[in-house]
């Protein structure tokens, strides 16, 4: 059953179309992710769904209510974690949580119990008395998430939950999101980390320049990717100028650059290494390494959006692992 349904939702800012007629839904118990580069319209969408921005056109249904007309009613059952940790700097962690709980009409005893429990669960029990402004970035992020679920919402909106957070904290945050989801909270999150979307989300929508260019179950998207064979070359030269000549020499394959030195080649058939080595030799390029890549969501994303991986701030965690 869908707990959230979005139909032809658009947002114009003085003629600029930030979000263009998007359609998607969120099922009960699901984690759905919006994956897209900067400025794609992720935050704008969340703002429209939570009542911080007024849609220019389209419809939103949340738990059977009209999410535009009855937004104040809807706000009782949704939790929001904004892209910036925006709790009160001059208040301590515990008081921040208690205050947020009070906004949902929770009684004194209930909100204090809930605040303590969340501090415990988020590993912040020892810093509950510290002022928010004295928190580290990771701690701030965790407390902001705790504040978002203080009233046990049915849907949680997370705008880039791990951006700018170190590896360990990001991992903890992901685990918390999964735990919440297991407990029954439907989750809508945005990210520009492909691996995060792949690991966390049951379904993913790729959003680029205000449009959802692809949407599907993560498994299906991966399966689609795995129909392709991929080879990655590490060169000693800049790879960008080689893209076109390669494409010309080997029609039927798909070439894309990862960064300055890395180039990938995708093909529906097994890739024979020799013709490529010959090609690079003729181009006077030194090949440092060539390896077979197990296709991941990254390949689907690049293929569908045409966006270079470089443009998405790529998460380093996956590589270290």
């Amino acid at each position: 059953m869908n707990i959230l349904e979005v139909k032809n939702l658009s947002k114009n800012y003085n003629g600029f179309k930030a979000v263009k007629e998007i359609n998607f839904s969120l099922e009960k118990g699901e984690i759905f992710g919006f994956l897209g580069p900067n400025g794609a319209g992720k935050t704008t969408t969340i703002n429209m769904l939570t009542g911080l921005a007024r849609p220019s056109s389209g419809a939103i249904q949340i738990a059977g209510e009209d999410g535009i007309k009855n937004i104040k009613k809807v706000q009782r059952i949704i939790g929001i974690v904004p892209d910036e940790s925006n709790l009160y700097e001059e208040m301590n962690g515990f008081d921040n949580l208690v205050f947020c709980a009070s906004l949902y009409g929770m009684g004194k005893k209930q909100r204090e119990e809930r605040a303590s429990r969340l501090l415990e669960q988020f590993g912040l029990a020892n810093t509950g008395k510290k002022l928010f402004k004295a928190y580290s970035k990771g701690m701030k992020r965790k407390l902001t998430i705790a504040a978002g679920i203080i009233h046990e919402p049915q849907i949680l909106f997370l705008d880039e939950p791990t951006t700018g957070i170190d590896v360990e904290n990001a991992r903890q945050i992901r685990r918390l999101i999964q735990t919440l989801n297991h407990q029954g909270t439907a989750i809508f999150l945005t990210t520009h980390y492909i691996e995060e979307a792949e690991r966390l989300c049951h379904r993913i929508g790729f959003i680029v320049e205000g449009e959802i260019v692809k949407i599907g179950k993560t498994i299906d998207l991966l399966q689609e990717a795995q129909k392709e064979y991929i080879m990655e070359f590490t060169l000693e030269n800049e790879v960008e100028p080689l893209k076109e000549p390669i494409q010309k020499t080997f029609p039927g394959i798909h070439v894309y650059t990862i960064d300055y030195f890395h180039l990938r080649i995708g093909s529906p058939e097994k890739i024979d290494l020799m013709p490529f080595m010959k090609f690079f030799a003729e181009e006077k390029c030194l090949v440092r390494e060539a390896r077979i890549i197990r296709p991941s969501l990254e390949e689907v994303f690049v293929k569908v959006t045409g966006i270079e991986i470089d443009r998405l701030k790529k998460e380093k965690e996956g590589e270290k692992k």
Partner: protein
Amino acid sequence: MKKYIAFWSILGKDMKTYYLKPPNISWGIIFPFAWTLMFFLRSEGAVEIREILPGVMSLAVLFGTTSMLSVTITFERRSRSFERLLLAPISLNLLMLAKTSGAIIFGILNALLPVIIASLVIDLSGINWMSAILSIIFIAVTSTFLGLFISVSASEVFEAQTFSNFVRFPMMFLGGLFLPLERLPLFLRFLSYLLPLTYGVDILKTAINGNGIIPSGISFLVLVGFSLFLFLMSINNIQKRWIY
């Protein structure tokens, strides 16, 4: 849902994080204090202190409320914590009433300071306290909503402050605080009647010295009108500009 819990929490939080903080207390207390002393010291005698008391009280309220609002609202807007309030399941009206109640109380307390100081030096008998207190409350409400209107029209703290000086200083001179309205040239007098403070000061003058020139009942009505107008305009502005 128990909406009063949200209301009291917002008010309590503002009290704790802004109004009771030393820099703001000093602004709220030392400033009117210094002001009162300054006016009183250069008064010739008891009669004159009593004459200027309504003006000094109104000024204390006006400056106290408008400057606090630009802090509690514009500042929270900039740090984006204000978004939390907009995302809470309470109506915008209730939310803004909660955000302004602190300033109203602060303004009322500010007005007491000149009274206390005056009571030390002159005899304050014969004052219609009921009417005086009511008018202070009304002045506090109106000037708070004026401050609210300014805060929601500005996007930066300094902008709000500049804008509010633009409104406060004309009121200081044209509101009948120190220059009696009757002595103003006709076209300035006309301007005076467009300013809410004029009516508040006049009620106070009637209550303290019996020398107001507008019937107090009418002044109260006008203040209610100003308050409603400013509050509704502010809500309208918030809806248009902050829920973008």
